[in-house]
Amino acid sequence: MQQIYEVSQINEYLKCRFEDDPFLSGLLIRGEISNYKLYPSGHHYFSLKDANSAMRCVMFKGNAFQLRFRPENGMKVIAGGRISVFPRDGAYQLYCTSLTPDGVGDLHVAFEQLKARLQKEGLFAPERKKPLPRYPQTIAIITSSAGAALRDMLRILRARYPLCVVKLLAVRVQGGEAPAEIAGAIRYANAHRLADLIITGRGGGSIEDLWAFNDERVAYAIAESEIPVISAVGHVPDVTISDFVADLRAATPSNAAELAVPDQVELRQMLAARQAMLLTLMQKRIKQERQNVHALAQNRSLKSPLNYYSDRRMQLDYTHRRLSAASTTYLNFRRERFVRLTAKLDAMSPMKVLSRGYSMAMKQGAILKSTEDIAENDELTLVLTDGKVITKVQEVIK
């Protein structure tokens, strides 16, 4: 009698057989993603298929967290993991622990290796980052002259800050020649001091397309640039070595243009604000000066110039009165002195002596003082107070 089993017993049995098989416990499988679903739990469910077959896959949240890209339907990948049975459904599936885009697996490794090495060399150190000019005069753009990236950047620069000059150094941004051209252009811009800011980058693309910006030649050129460099590669989630080395990482080329220059709308607002500030300050100042003048005006003379005038007039009158009084006094004094002197002079006059009864004898116009000068019969003139007498000398008595 053959043994009868339950479904779950068989599923459990198969699960054990699968898991005991070393071959199935660590596989890398190449395929294309389809029916991709991300559940709210954070687990990823998808199928891996090739031209003829398909296989169910699950990637748990913890492993999916390590992904550097977002899996998409149609994406060719290499999935790593173990194959086991999901007992509930009796279906086997790949329990996926790693997922890398097919064909770039080794690039990916190279990226991580270069990143680790340059980090160790200090190329990503924050203190190496140079400040960007606030108002760049000349921006060197190192990218493809045909790309959308350039058009996007020029459109934004034109809108935001048309004061700057753009110097385009056209290079190839993908393919084997690209790294040397990009690095060469960065060094050339430095050697000729072409600009005060460099933007280098390109639009989005596959990881291979962006690969030039993961090249160490570009990384060293950026690191050695004396002109600040903005790295602008791909779309928002794309990260390249250039982004780590550059002085500033922009999420996209458009974003690089936005970060590179100020916005004229904001500049105009700022200018208007300065103008308003100047006006306010000036008005405040004038108000303050007016208060000062007002305080001064409380002074009587300034408050009423007429008062000042009459005050001065009164002062003048007073001075005038004092002056005339003084001159009168002076004149009186002089007059009195004259009278006194005249009287004194009068008293000393010989005529005054004669008026007291004396007379004066003169001979031939000379006053006689001695009998020696007189002889008998001399004719003498006697001067009296009221006239003269002519006499003849009869006798001289000595």
């Binding site: 002259s145 004061l163 050339y188 300065r274 000036m282």
Partner: protein, 73 residues
């Protein structure tokens, strides 16, 4: 052109700072106000008149940069 724009802004800030201190004589404050107003007008005009200049650089025979006008529109 851009240099004078930046210089103008720098000077403008300096003027605002000096006027904020309020210790400049009235006569000078008036002059600063006038200069600041002129600078604001000049900066606005620079922005009004500006047109983004784009040139393509190529390495000349002697290695020196050669400029050619680049039109992207």
């Amino acid at each position: 052109m851009s240099a004078s724009f930046e210089q103008s802004l720098t000077r403008l800030d300096e003027i605002v700072r000096r006027m904020e201190r309020g210790d400049v004589p009235l006569e000078e404050a008036l002059k600063l106000f006038e200069e600041g107003t002129t600078l604001v007008a000049a900066c606005n005009k620079m922005l009004d008149d500006a047109e983004l200049k784009v040139v393509q650089l190529t390495k000349g025979a002697d290695g020196s940069p050669q400029e050619t006008e680049f039109t992207d529109e």
